[in-house]
Each structure stands twice: as C-alpha cells, then as structure tokens.
C-alpha cells in the first residue's frame, strides 16, 4: 500500500509482505457463487462480487439479510457451504486455522461497538497486534502514536475503554484495525448508534483509507447518510500536507465506490449510489426512505 498520511515516520510497514506487481488486476476480495445456510435458513444464495485495490464496497440491507455474514466469511470465522471466497487471489474457503490466522493478520476489522479489550488501555488495544508479533517496544510506541494521530485520538493513549465515548471507541477500533497497514479493511456497521457528526468522522476515516491509503474495504451499514457521504466525497492532501475532503459533484464520478444491496441472502442491486436512488423498486424505496 501507499504511505500517504501514514508516512509520518517514513518507516516500513510492520507487515512487510508486499503484494504482487499485478495485484491491481487481482481482486483484493472476491466471492464466487457463495452459498450458506444455517439449518433450513438460507443466509447467502449464490452471492458473487469482487472488490479491487483501493475500492470501497458499501453493503446495504436490513438486519438479517446476510451483511455481517459476508464479513465473517472474509475473516474465515465461518466457511461457505458452496462457492469460493478469495482474498488477494487465494481461496480461503478450505484454509485451516493456521492459514486463516496468517490471512487475518493482513485484514483490519472494525466492529460495530468497537469490540475493544476492556482490560487493556487504548495504547495496549492499538498495540495488540504488534505485541503479539513481539516487536520492540519503541517501534510499537511509534506505530501506535502514528495510528492514534490518524484517528485524532493521541490524547486518549493512556485511557481505558470504559473512559471513552461511543465515537472514540469506534475510532480506537479503527486505529487497532489499521495497525500493521492491512490492505483490506472491513467495517461492520461502524456508525450504528452514533450522532451524525461522529458518524461523519468515521466515514471520513473510511474515505481517507480508500483515497489516500489505497485500501480495499467493505463498509456494512444500513444508514443512507453514510452511503451518500462515502459515495460523493473524496479525500486529497492539500499543499500543506493536510487531508481535505471535496465533493465529487458533477466534476467526476467516484468509480472506486460501489453500493450493493442484499435481500434474503441475494444481491438485488449493485452499482452507484445515484443509480440506487433513482430506482423505483418498492423494497429499495422503502429501505431508502426508512419507512
């Protein structure tokens, strides 16, 4: 990955495993006819899609339509009944625990409520992956500070999760997910229950990752505000080195963002946000309007 705003220390990324030269041609995430059922209940039915490097795929749908299942399949926490799940060209469907642990180290995951470890401070939460890798403490400290700066939470480094607000917990969760510079980041409803300005901050982080860090991501949500922001604004670095957000407007189209909507385990829409908004399908209209 590139090292735009992450490059404050000019160090090599922690996980030095580089992607192959042709990695832009190989999707970072690819689902091929994935099927999954629990007992008689079909969760996913022939789901196929791909996410290339630097792309964000927003997954929409009401609760219980299989959105979080997609994330669990990518992490290898559950295995598909049929079909293939490929990450950077590797089929992980039949991987054992050992191989999955290796793959997971290259994926960042942002949970709905942050899922911070209660017994660890913000520093230790963000440093978790690096402590596990037994890296020298000074290197860990540098990386943690860099990530907390990225999410604007440097001041909270010594706090415990119980002292943080909901939005701060999510941002620490994002910093923890980004440590080690993963090339895939998964967001599982990261703005659920947050006030609009905080939700926007979380979306800005997702946009920064997409546009500046070249990270491939899946953003599961059921909030249309998130969809609108991520699909219509882009991040760039101004001449002073600060990150700025600009609306795409009519100037150009953000081709690196795709919206996908699920219904009963099947993809019922795949395309741009404006195409989704223009649809007359009653189910989609009801979802968009929220009633």
């Amino acid at each position: 990955m590139t090292h735009g705003i992450f490059e404050s220390g000019a160090d090599e990324p922690v996980d030095s495993e580089e992607l192959p030269e042709n990695s832009r041609l190989i999707p970072a995430i690819e689902f091929r006819d994935v099927e999954l059922a629990f007992d008689d209940q079909v969760i996913l039915n022939g789901v196929s899609f791909s996410v290339h490097r630097g792309q964000t795929r927003i997954v929409l749908g009401p609760s219980g339509t299989g959105k979080s299942t997609i994330i669990n399949l990518i992490l290898g926490l559950i295995k598909p009944d049929a079909g293939q799940v490929l990450l950077n060209g590797e089929d992980i469907s039949d991987f054992d625990d050992q191989d999955l642990m290796r793959i997971r180290k290259k994926i960042g995951m942002v949970f709905q409520e942050g899922a911070l470890f209660d017994s660890l401070s913000v520093y230790d939460n963000v440093a978790y992956r690096l402590h596990e890798a037994r890296l020298p403490e000074d290197e860990i400290e540098h990386e943690v500070t860099r990530m907390l700066r990225f999410v604007n939470l440097e001041d909270a480094i010594d706090k415990m999760p119980s002292e943080l607000s909901g939005g701060m917990r999510r941002r620490v969760g994002i910093a923890r997910a980004l440590i080690g510079d993963p090339n895939i980041v998964l967001f599982d409803e990261p703005t659920a229950g947050l006030d609009p300005p905080t939700a926007r901050t979380i979306c800005e982080l997702a946009v920064k990752l997409r546009d500046i860090e070249d990270v491939s991501s899946i953003f599961v949500t059921h909030e249309m505000n998130n969809v609108e922001f991520i699909s219509s604004e882009y991040a760039l670095i101004d001449p002073h080195g600060e990150v700025d957000f600009e609306p795409a407007g009519n100037t150009f189209c953000l081709t690196n963002t795709c919206v996908m909507m699920l219904r009963d385990g099947e993809i019922i829409f795949e395309g741009r946000e404006d195409e989704l908004m223009a649809l007359d399908d009653p189910y989609i209209r009801r979802f968009i309007r929220g009633r």
């Binding site: 290796r102 997971r104 180290k105 995951m109 949970f111 709905q112 899922a115 209660d118 992956r129 037994r134």
Partner: protein, 256 residues
C-alpha cells in the same frame, strides 16, 4: 435438542477444546505472562477462602467425631482421622468446589462477556487464537495451583483439627501430631495430589467451554456462569468417585 444429545455435543466440544489447548502449547507465542497472572489470580486469590474452608472443616471433623473416639478410648487417633479424611477426600474435593465457585464462575463470566461484546471475534480477526491466548493459560494455571491449594487446605484442616482438639477437648498436641504423622501415608499423599490435577483440568475445561459458547447478551453470561459452576461442581464429585476407584486399583489398596 434433548438432554442426551446436548450432553454428547458438549462432551465433543470440551474434548475438542482440550485437544486445541494442548496443541496450542507447542506453538509460539506461549503467553507466559498471562499464565503467571492467572496463577496469581487463581492461586493467591483463592488462598484465603481455601485455608478458611480447610481450617473449619478440620475443626468440625474433630468436633463431630471426638465424642465417639472418646467412647472407644481412641482419642489418640483423632489426628489420624482428620489427616486421612482431609488428604484423601475432603481436601481435594473441597478445594476443587471452592475453586469451581470462585474461579470457574469468573472464567466463564469473563469469557462470556468477551463473546457478547465481540472481543473474542476481535481477537480472531487480529490473528490470535482465543484458545491459545485465553484457554491454555487458564488450564495450566488451574492444573498447577489447585494441587498447591489442596495442600494448603489439608495443612490448615489439620491445624484446625488440632486447635479444636486442644482447646475444646484438652488433647495433648504431641499426641495429635504423632497421630497425624501415622495417619498420613505416602499413597494418600500421592492420591490426594493426583485428584486436584484432574479437578483443575475439569473445572478449567468446563468453565472455558461454557464461557466461549455464551449466547444471548448479558442474560446469556449469567446463564453460562451458573452452568459453569453447577456442571464443574457435579463433574468434580462424579470424577472423585471414579478417580478414587482408579487410585485404589493402581495402589492396590482399598484405602482411597
């Protein structure tokens, strides 16, 4: 799912958990610091309740049996009775039951809370095996500390018996100590230490399994915790019977 199917399912899950925990021992990182912290919490943290339980159990044995011993003129064997009862049975079982109540519930509640707040999922997502990080250190800590706690329960039980025999019945302390020494056989001591090893494993596996299979939010944590304590306690008592029988066969004695 009926009770029998549930039992078979749980047995399979616990066996798999045990196998994965053992396999985890071979791989790095080994979480030594976590293991030591668990030993401190389980061992040092349970010291007070174990010694109190042992002390008063030894005392009550003398309180209840002294009149009978006196009737048969066998007061000088009071120490032997306390030592034998504590070292063979009461020490290991009472220590295990106290640890199941105090530590088993804590393990199950902690792991259960981590499941419902997605911390276990986060751990997996960060490339760490929860079994290696959470289960293996707790199992090892229990297997190491429970025999040590049992020794303390035995020791304080014998002291408690001695205090009651001396203060309430005026038994000479030298007679009591001599009787304890003649009552404590090597086979008793070995058997009394093998049992807590097995009990530690049982409590650890059941509590971790219940915690990790928690479902349904905070209510689920409560249910898992109750199930962990009840199942561990019953399993300890059942296992005690079979272990006693096994030890009898191994040592060729009917003393266990």
């Amino acid at each position: 799912m009926n009770l029998f199917t549930q039992f078979i399912y749980d047995l399979q899950a616990i066996t798999l958990l045990f196998w994965r925990a053992v396999k985890g021992l071979r791989k790095r990182p080994r979480y030594l610091a976590e293991m030591i912290m668990q030993m401190d919490q389980i061992g040092v943290g349970s010291f007070a309740i174990i010694t109190l339980t042992g002390f008063f159990t030894g005392g009550v044995i003398i309180l209840q049996s002294y009149a009978t011993l006196e009737y048969y003129g066998a007061q000088s064997n009071a120490g032997q009775g306390v030592a034998t009862a504590l070292i063979r049975e009461l020490g290991p079982v009472l220590a295990a039951l106290m640890v199941a109540g105090r530590v088993g519930s804590a393990i199950s509640a902690e792991l259960g809370s981590m499941v419902v707040s997605q911390q276990i999922d986060a751990m997996r997502a960060l490339g760490t095996s929860p079994v290696r990080k959470l289960v293996t250190p707790r199992l090892i800590a229990l297997i190491i500390t429970l025999p040590l706690l049992t020794i303390m329960a035995d020791l304080f039980g014998i002291i408690g018996g001695g205090v009651v025999a001396r203060s309430l019945h005026g038994l000479d302390m030298n007679i009591y100590i001599s009787s304890v020494r003649s009552g404590a056989k090597l086979a008793d001591l070995v058997g009394g230490l093998i049992k807590p090893l097995a009990f530690g494993l049982i409590i650890g596996l059941i509590s971790c399994h219940r915690g990790l299979s928690t479902k349904g939010g905070t209510v689920g944590v409560g249910i898992s915790t109750t199930q962990a304590v009840v199942t561990s306690s019953i399993s300890v008592i059942i296992a005690d019977f079979f272990l006693s029988k096994l030890l009898q066969s191994l040592f060729g004695t009917t003393l266990f």
